[in-house]
Structures are given as C-alpha cells and as structure tokens.
C-alpha cells in the first residue's frame, strides 16, 4: 500500500502535543529563577528546597503508606472477585457482583468521594466507627475503587488461562485451595504484579476522593500539590514532578524491557 504523508505527520504532532508540556515542566525544574516559565540559568536549588519542605515530605510519606495499604487490600479483594467471576460460573448474585465490581471504573470521583464521606459520617454517628477521618478512611476509600481495576486486570488473565492444568492437579487429588496456590497463583503472578502497581499508582494520584474522606492533618501528597498549584505555579512542584516522572519512566522502561526479554526467542522479530 502506498504510504501517505498524512498519518506520520498527524501522529508526530500528536506525540509532540503529548510530550511538549511534560518536557517543558522538566526543563523549568532546573531553572534558576522562581518564575517558572522564564529561563535564567541552570540550577538544582528547587530540588534542595523540596528536601527542606517538611509539609510536602510528610504528605509524600503519608501517600506512600496509604497507597501501599490500599494496593494490598485491593489486590486481595480484586483477585478473589476475579476468581469468583471467572471460575464460579453460576452463583446467586453473580450479575450484581459483576456490575458492582466494574461500576467504580466509571463512577465520577466527586460522587465516590461524597458517598463514602456521607457513609463514614453516618457510621460514626450510629456505630461509633470509624472515629473521625484520617488515613484509615482514605485507605478504605482507595481500596474500594482500586479493587475494580485489579478485577479487570486479573480477570482478563484468568480467562486466558488454560484450564487443563488446574484440572490435572484436581484429578491428581489436590484440594481446591492447593490448586489455587500451587498452580493458578504462579501463572497469574504477572497480572497480580501489574494489578498491584496500577492500584498503587491510582491511589498515589487520587486528589478528589482523598479530599472528601481525609481529616485534619491527613492531607495526602496530591492535596498538598493541589493547594500549592491553585495559588500559582511553584518551581518546587516542577522538581517534584520531574522526580515522579523519572521514577515512572524508569519503571515503564524496565517493565517493557523485561517483557521483551522474557518473551520466547522465536517470537522476537
């Protein structure tokens, strides 16, 4: 087929659009001046300022804790839910469970946040738990919406899985739980890793839901960034963004290389 000029040019412009703001953000994090967009010389002083900003560091540590806990809870719940949906073909309430598990994916953040806050307030008034709002309520809220993403990732891997392996183990007398831990789990491990990472990143990134369900003194990193950014641009946020983008880029690059390497030799071009 004759290659046209339109597609390559349009695609290049698209990629330029996707990357130009990110690149300018990274470049200006090394800017001397505190005017974020006017270049006045190379400096790494904003990285130093970042390390001295206790509020930001505390929030980052808080966010990391929340994201770690939420990703672990979401991984367990999401995997159980995916197993139930893929392996147990018929049980009462299957459609309801399937719908409830995927609904958080399309639910606007403001509604999820509001709904959970109102629930926590009502629970505190009637049951006395959870007492006040803080890290615990943020973890619960994040686990809930992250579960939906883990279900999607694990479900697609489970339904591709060759059933004969599990059947063979079952025929040889292994109990269902043993089959799950010895056969199924090692095979779906890559999906579990990507599900966990996805949940971790989503939790780390969430601003809206955390704003609703957090209490005084439990601001997460996105909340602190948002309040800083709302007042105007600040170069230390650029520095922080550069660090985060660097970590993510290394992670994605590493994962891609790992995938290419672990692929069978004959499949490589």
């Amino acid at each position: 087929m004759r290659r046209g000029w339109f597609i390559p040019i349009a695609a290049s412009l698209g990629f330029a659009f996707l990357y130009a703001p990110i690149i300018s953000l990274v470049v200006f994090s090394f800017n001397e001046s505190n005017l974020v967009t006017v270049w006045s010389g190379f400096s790494t002083k904003w990285y130093g300022a970042l390390l001295a900003d206790r509020q930001l560091l505390d929030a980052a540590w808080r966010s990391a804790q929340v994201a770690f806990a939420a990703a672990c809870i979401a991984l367990v719940l999401g995997t159980l839910c995916a197993v139930a949906l893929v392996r147990f073909r018929k049980f009462r309430g299957r459609t309801v469970l399937a719908g409830t598990a995927s609904a958080p994916l399309v639910m606007p953040d403001v509604i999820t946040g509001l709904a959970l806050l109102l629930l926590f307030v009502a629970m505190e008034a009637t049951l006395g738990w959870p007492a006040g709002r803080g890290l615990l309520t943020i973890i619960i809220a994040h686990s809930t919406f992250c579960t939906a993403y883990v279900v999607v990732v694990v479900q697609s891997r489970l339904s591709d899985l060759d059933l004969s392996l599990e059947e063979a183990a079952m025929d040889l007398g292994a109990s269902p739980i043993r089959v799950f831990f010895d056969i199924t789990l090692p095979i779906i491990a890559p999906a579990l890793v990507s599900g966990w990472l996805l949940a971790f990143t989503l939790s780390l990134d969430d601003l809206v839901i955390a704003s609703f369900v957090s209490g005084p003194g439990s601001s997460t990193l996105p909340m602190v960034i948002f309040s800083k950014v709302r007042l105007g641009v600040s170069p230390d946020v650029n520095a922080l963004a550069t660090i985060i983008i660097g970590i993510v880029a290394l992670g994605v690059l590493g994962a891609t290389l790992f995938q290419l390497r672990s692929r069978p030799r004959k499949m490589r071009a």
């Binding site: 839910c81 709904a115 109102l118 809930t144 079952m170 990134d205």
Partner: protein, 320 residues
C-alpha cells in the same frame, strides 16, 4: 469443566492450607462461599450502601449542627416519622445554575471526546501500522503519561499556556501578541484532550492492530483511493475501538473536577465543580447529594446508549 467446588479427596501431604480448609469446614464455611463473600461484602458496604446514603441525604435539607442535615427518621412519642424533602431536586430544575452546569458539562465532554478521537485515531493507526521494532517504543510513549500523575500533567499544561508561558514566548519570537489561554473554556478543552488522549489511543490501537492489511491491499489493488479505503473498510471495522475509546474519555470528562478548577475560569461551569463548591464552599450536604444523584443519571444514560451501540456492532459482526 473445572471449578473449585468439585469434591476431591484430601491430599496426603500436610500443607498449611489443609489445616485452614479443615478449620473452615468445621464452622460450616466452604472456600467458595468465602471467595465470593469477601469482595461482595466489601463492595456492598463501601460502594452500594454509600450510594443509598447519598440518595437518602439528598431528600433532607441543610441545617446547622452535626451532621449538617435534617434527620430522615425522627422518633416522636414512640412513633417513627419519615420526613422527605424534595426541595433540593426542585431547585436543580428551577435554578438556572444547575441546569446550565449539566448542559455545559455534557457539551464540553462531547466536543472534547470528538477532538480527542480526531487526534487519537491517526496516532493509534500509525502505531498499529508501524514496523515491529518501533511499535513497542511508540506504545510505551503512549502508556508513560498514563502512569504519571494526572494532577501533575494538568499542572504541566498551566506552565505551558500561561500569559508568559511557553506558547506565548514562542509566539513572541514572531512578534505575535500573547494569547489569553488560561482560565478560559479553551484551556479546559485542551486539558481534557491532553489528559485523556492515552485512554482514546489504547483501545483504538488494540482494535486497529487486529485489522487485516490484506483487506486494505485488496481495496487498493481494485483501484480505491486511500480515503475511500479508509471510509469503507478501516473506519467501519474499527467501530468497537472508537466506541470504547469515546466512552473512556466522555464519561470521566463529564464529572471532571481537577481540570476545570485548575485551567478553567470562573465562568467555566462543570457539574463536578458545582458539586465540590456546594459541599466544601456552602457545606450544603443535601444539595451536593442531589447534584450527585442527578449527575449519576446523566452519566448512566450515555453508558447505556454506548453499551447498546457496542452490542449492536458485535451482533452485526457475529451474523456476518
């Protein structure tokens, strides 16, 4: 067919989970019930019930105190009374602010989705048709922003579009007057398109990469111009990808809060922002709840329509 509920003889070798299984069986619980129950209970308590709570509170009115809304149930002299207020819903329809916020959210989301499709389609097409060694690199370039913080990417745009931002400095080189881009609806459109572009490209790519190039070659051999081949073959076959991508952009864009509040101006009305202000600014929880209920309806209708379109496309393919 295999399933975990098949009865099987107990394994000889002792493993930790044998003991777990016995303990569970002793209290009359099967593993299967537990596997279903754990996520089902969690999602019921922390997802379904909260939505009911929102609906309940939307039928109360604001009052001063804790909690800042009137109780639904009151106990007077031993009789329980249920008090429902429809005021919030009546205000949603009569106050022009809410109606125009819903309308403008849908308009902004719809226009952004169409533009995102126009930008994303050639990109997805180029990646799908790229040589093997290039394809993974390009795909990685699309996925990378997807993993970086949403908030920070919106922030990156503010530095780009500000009065003395990168674009205006660039235009200044040609002696062009600085453009006012920030705090306008234009900035909100750019923000949505920029943030959601990867969500459009990925489903389009998975669809287009499966497209058999033999069909395109056959069409070209028979003398069809590239545009005609595109319109009669590529476009109809990529419909499921277009619908999936559009859904992933349109639906979250309706309820968007971060983009209009960082990039939009005071006149940019979007419903996510109205809900936020109602809750945090006016601390009117019942009104915010009513806004949420109406927003849910606004979101669910396009999901159902798009799902129907998706099913229709799949049905057509199956009968072919």
């Amino acid at each position: 067919m295999s399933s975990y509920d098949t009865e099987s003889p107990a394994p000889r070798r002792r493993r930790p989970w044998t003991a777990v299984e016995r303990a569970l069986a002793a209290i009359g619980l099967s593993g299967k019930a537990l596997v279903i129950a754990a996520p089902a209970i969690w999602l019921t308590v922390f997802f379904l019930i909260p939505l009911l709570v929102v609906f309940g509170i939307s039928l109360t009115v604001k009052q001063f105190g804790r909690p800042p809304y009137t109780p639904l149930l009151t106990n007077e002299d031993g009789t329980v009374q249920l008090t429902l207020h429809l005021n919030n819903y009546i205000r949603l329809f009569t106050d022009g602010l809410y109606v125009s916020a819903y309308v403008s959210s849908i308009r902004i989301a719809l226009i952004s989705t169409i533009i995102t499709l126009c930008i994303g389609y050639p990109m997805a097409y180029a990646i799908a048709r790229a040589p093997d060694q290039w394809r993974n690199v390009l795909l990685m370039l699309v996925i990378l922003p997807f993993w970086t913080s949403f908030l920070l990417r919106v922030y990156a745009l503010t530095g780009f579009m500000r009065g003395n931002g990168v674009i205006n400095q660039f235009l200044g080189l040609f002696g062009i007057e600085p453009l006012v881009m920030m705090q306008t609806d234009f900035a909100v459109y750019v923000g949505i398109i920029y943030s959601y572009l990867p969500f459009m490209i990925l489903p389009l790519y998975t669809n287009l990469v499966k497209l058999d190039s033999v069909l395109l070659e056959a069409s070209a051999d028979l003398g069809a111009k590239p545009l005609r081949t595109f319109l009669t073959i590529t476009l109809p076959l990529s419909m499921p990808g277009i619908i999936a991508g559009s859904m992933l952009v349109f639906i979250p864009a309706i309820g968007e809060f971060v983009i209009p509040s960082l990039l939009g101006g005071p006149s940019t009305l979007m419903i996510g922002r109205v809900l936020w202000d109602e809750f945090f600014g006016n601390t009117n929880w019942p009104r915010a709840s009513a806004v949420a209920v109406a927003m849910l309806i606004v979101v669910v209708i396009p999901i159902m329509l798009l799902q129907k379109a998706q099913d229709a496309v799949q049905d057509r393919e199956r009968t072919k």
